[in-house]
């Protein structure tokens, strides 16, 4: 049995010693053949395994269960008293696209133009963002990076939070984003009149319909050329239309950010009319229109959960209760933080959703398997099952509880270094040297 300790302060180390847990050494990741033994494994899809073993080989989960033989040459990681969960998935973030939110030069989520679906988030994801290690230490292993700030602001990308290039990080899902025209206020600072809001919304809705007509034309021409199999004939270069073509043809999902009840109804109408496969995101007032959402069979990524109610006359806890109310109605619900620097709080958004109606088990699903299903990557992510990517974390308890320590994160078979700039500052300054006197 090999025990490797990360260099953290003494009492944390003691805590780790007591827990019998190990973590990756230094600032480099580590891959290989691993056997995590004696853990309480929350598979999410196949129940909880007490005293379970999890074998990691070639970046994948080779086997999971109790009484599994440890392969020869495997590095054994003793996990007595520890829990293992699939890595958590945040269904809506700016991670990798925003470093310091108030400094425009460090943000890359909003391009010029309202209709720019060809702008790819994956291109702009910064694998070396200081925010990424801070995030993954909380067990959030996979997030979708979303462009924003226009009608069709770009193409979002699902990324794993370990890797040195966007390609290494890419987790197998991209989708065009539609910010559905909103008739609500966008924040405390939004002081537009009712007329201004309505006119902006009408204008955006018209722009959306006009764009969709253009895509319809583009589709016709493109289909005709393909049908004729004329080799030299090429379409003129319309990158924005090309980017929308798969969604128009129903071959790709589109992520629709929509929050107000009235807007949700309109968005349902729009996607139904246009036969678009949609994922709704935000959906703050989803609880008001559950019937319509169920009838349209649209999955939602709700959040942030820790936000204010949309209306002064709504109960104080509506946003906490919203995911639970939608789930109860029969809607498929994943969660998002809508954060950049604090995506690490995803387990707490899930915890509040759990407390206010969603329940622990469903809340755990919402940030693992349900999210993976919505993104069409459930064959690779979202649960602890043989054949899936080895993307999970080891903790000393329930990850929704703030008391819980996450002791090891594994992403795609890599034992991720359990440090970030924030933990390094802790190590340096808990007992600063020199202290007061030099």
């Amino acid at each position: 049995m090999i025990k490797i300790f990360c260099l953290r302060c003494s009492f944390l180390m003691v805590a780790l010693l007591i827990a019998g847990m190990v973590c990756a050494q230094g600032s480099k990741g580590k891959t290989g053949l691993f056997a995590f033994t004696n853990a309480k494994i929350y598979t999410v899809t196949n129940g909880v395994i007490e005293g379970g073993t999890l074998i990691v080989k070639d970046g994948k989960i080779e086997a999971v269960g109790s009484g599994i033989a440890i392969p020869e040459g495997a590095e054994v990681i003793e996990c007595a008293g520890q829990h293992i969960y699939p890595g958590m998935i945040d269904g809506g973030t700016k991670l990798g696209l925003s470093e310091i939110s108030s400094i425009a030069r460090t943000t890359d989520f909003s391009e010029i133009g309202d209709v720019v679906p060809q702008m790819k988030a994956l291109t702009a994801v910064n694998p070396n963002s200081v925010l990424i290690p801070v995030t993954r230490l909380s067990g959030v292993t996979t997030v979708i990076a979303i462009p924003s700030g226009g009608l069709l602001p770009g193409t979002a990308a699902l990324i794993n939070l370990y890797g040195y290039s966007p390609k290494q990080m890419f987790a197998g899902f991209e989708a065009v984003v539609l910010e559905f025209p909103s008739t609500g206020r966008r924040g405390r600072w939004d002081r537009r009149s009712e007329e201004e809001i309505k006119s902006a919304s009408d204008k955006a809705l018209k722009q959306l319909d006009d764009t969709w007509k253009k895509v319809a034309e583009y589709h016709k021409v493109d289909s005709a050329i393909t049908a004729q199999k004329v080799k030299d004939q090429k379409l003129d270069f319309y990158p924005e239309l090309e980017a929308l073509l798969p969604a128009y043809r129903g071959e790709a999902k589109i992520m629709v950010e929509v929050n107000r009840a009235e807007d949700i109804r309109k968005a349902i109408e729009w996607v139904t009319e246009n036969n678009v496969k949609a994922i709704f995101t935000g959906v703050l007032e989803g609880w008001r229109v559950t019937e319509e959402l169920v009838a349209a069979n649209i999955p939602v990524i709700a959040g942030p959960v820790l936000t204010l109610p949309a209306r002064e006359y709504d109960r104080y806890d509506r946003p906490y209760a919203n995911p639970g109310l939608m789930h109860e109605a029969g809607i498929k619900v994943a969660l998002k933080t809508t954060e950049a620097e604090n995506v690490r709080n995803l387990p707490y958004h899930a915890g509040f959703a759990a407390t206010y109606g969603l329940g622990k088990e469903e809340a755990l699903k919402s940030v693992t398997i349900t999210a993976a299903e919505i993104f069409g990557v459930s064959d690779r992510l979202g649960s602890i099952e043989p054949g899936k990517e080895a993307t999970f974390f080891v903790s000393d308890g329930d990850p929704f509880e703030t008391k819980t320590q996450i002791n090891q994160v594994v992403i795609g078979g890599w034992l991720v270094p359990m440090e970030s700039r924030q933990t390094r500052l802790y190590d340096e300054f808990l007992e600063r040297a020199p202290g007061l006197d030099k």
Partner: protein, 457 residues
């Protein structure tokens, strides 16, 4: 004569109207988290006339008193938020680097629904602060969340010490240096503003002291010095009557203000936000300064890029009195959860974590003799939780101020407004995460925008 009577009558009515309600209550069999004196299981709290009268087992209910069954529930002191802007009609008087003549107590809005939402999160007291646009901002007001009144005076916590907002770094330099082209444009300028202000206040105070002394001589015929509310307040800081609450982020500027305070003999200082407080924790502890911080906010501007969520733990373990605040209409609803994060980041024990939102902020506001813990004789500001308040599964059940129940989850209706604005047509606002706007800069952002627009003309 009649007129005078009417005036006297109005004055008396106003005075009588400013009397807040107090209540009697017996909380039975709760798991009491006293914060300062450990946990007490299956224990009762008797509240008489708004004060905690007795804590003990098997207290029999006095006749006619309301009994609250807290069996299986957790009872803790009302949560105190040392940095908030709820219940305010105005936040930043961003027109000068020094505005110590203004007072948020003159802009209290008792209709703000945020007060109820804070109550639903167990928060009984908040520090209604001026914003951070000015090096020396306005005086602040400590309020008790006695929601349901039309009278702003009722919200004010009687007897709470005077406090004033200071600000360092990017905000004052951006508003005044960049925006108005006046000092301060840099952190050098911020220090200069303080030194000038304190020196002028010293002179002001000396002049008044001399005048007041001379006046005792009946033959003295001199004129009184000119009155200045601005300098009068700053002189109050010099005498220790007014507590500085200073918006700050970087380690160097925190050290700077402590040096300035040393030079002027100022001892009472609370650093707000103080994201890099952990870097100068030994200096803060040695000075006796305290820190009121975010649990985990960072990276929303450059001066908070080198932050760590371990700030609370490092400060606490270095002996700095530390609180966790909200500075947010959203976060104020779950400060118990924010305190819980100090257990993830640095493993503070339950009492240390709970102190961050109770007795520690009470000390920072100078109200710890009356609030911040469950002790006989203190104000009956109490919150009852289902599940331990540091658990993610905790739900506040009842919030009590001065023995009066202001939030009861079993008597909570959808619409809790006490005033409906008839002009409000757009009734939906999508607030998002709420973490990306610096709430301290509300009003000032608009002011800056106007400066920019007029500058373009």
């Amino acid at each position: 004569m009649n007129k005078l009577l009417i005036i006297i009558f109005i004055f008396c009515a106003g005075w009588a109207g400013a009397q807040h309600r107090t209540g009697d209550l017996l909380i039975k069999n709760g798991h009491i988290l006293t914060v300062t004196k450990g946990d007490l299981e299956d224990t009762d709290i008797l509240i008489r006339d708004g004060k905690i009268s007795r804590i003990g087992k098997n207290i029999s209910a006095p006749a006619g008193i309301r009994v609250v069954d807290a069996k299986g529930l957790f009872v803790m002191p009302g949560i105190i938020d040392a940095h908030s802007h709820i219940a305010l009609d105005a936040i930043n008087e961003a027109t000068s680097p020094i505005t110590s003549e203004v007072f948020t107590g003159n802009a209290i809005n008792p209709f703000d629904l945020s007060i109820y939402r804070a109550l639903a999160g167990g928060v009984t007291i908040s520090h209604a602060m001026h914003g951070s646009a000015n090096a020396i901002g306005g005086e602040c007001e400590t309020i008790k969340h006695r929601y349901g009144t039309f009278n702003p005076e009722i919200l004010k916590m009687e007897g709470a010490p005077r406090t004033i907002k200071f600000a360092l770094g990017e905000n004052p330099t951006r508003v005044h240096g960049e925006g108005n082209k006046i000092v301060p444009k840099t952190r050098m300028g911020v220090e200069a503003v303080f030194r000038r202000a304190f020196s002028e206040a010293q002179e002001y105070k000396a002049a008044w002291d001399a005048y007041n002394l001379s006046k005792k001589n009946k033959r003295f015929r001199g004129k009184a010095p000119e009155y200045s509310r601005r300098l009068e307040t700053i002189a109050g800081i010099l005498t220790g009557e007014v507590i500085i609450h200073c918006h700050s982020y970087r380690a160097d500027e925190i050290l700077m203000l402590m040096e300035v305070c040393k030079d002027y003999g100022i001892k009472n200082i609370v650093f707000q936000h103080v994201n890099e407080g952990f870097k100068v924790a030994p200096e803060l502890a040695a000075f006796g300064a305290s820190a009121s911080i975010f649990s985990d906010w960072w990276a929303y501007k450059f001066e908070v890029y080198y932050s760590t969520a371990y700030n609370a733990a490092i400060l606490t373990k270095n002996g700095v009195n530390t609180s966790i605040n909200s500075d947010s209409w959203e976060l104020i609803r779950h400060l118990y959860h924010e305190a819980g994060k100090s257990q993830k980041y640095g493993q503070l024990n339950d009492d240390e974590a709970l102190a961050l939102i109770t007795i520690n902020p009470a000390k920072q506001l100078g109200i710890d003799s009356r609030t911040g813990s469950i002790e006989a004789g203190k104000d009956a500001d109490i919150v009852i939780f289902k599940d331990h308040p540091l658990s993610i599964y905790a739900v506040p059940q009842m919030t009590i101020i001065d023995g009066v129940v202001y939030f009861d989850i079993n008597d909570d209706h959808d619409d809790q407004r006490i005033y409906v604005d008839p002009s409000e047509v757009v009734d939906v606002t999508i607030h998002g995460t709420g973490t990306h706007h610096e709430n301290c800069m509300i009003d000032a952002e608009e002011f800056l925008l106007n400066v920019r627009i007029s500058g373009m003309k």
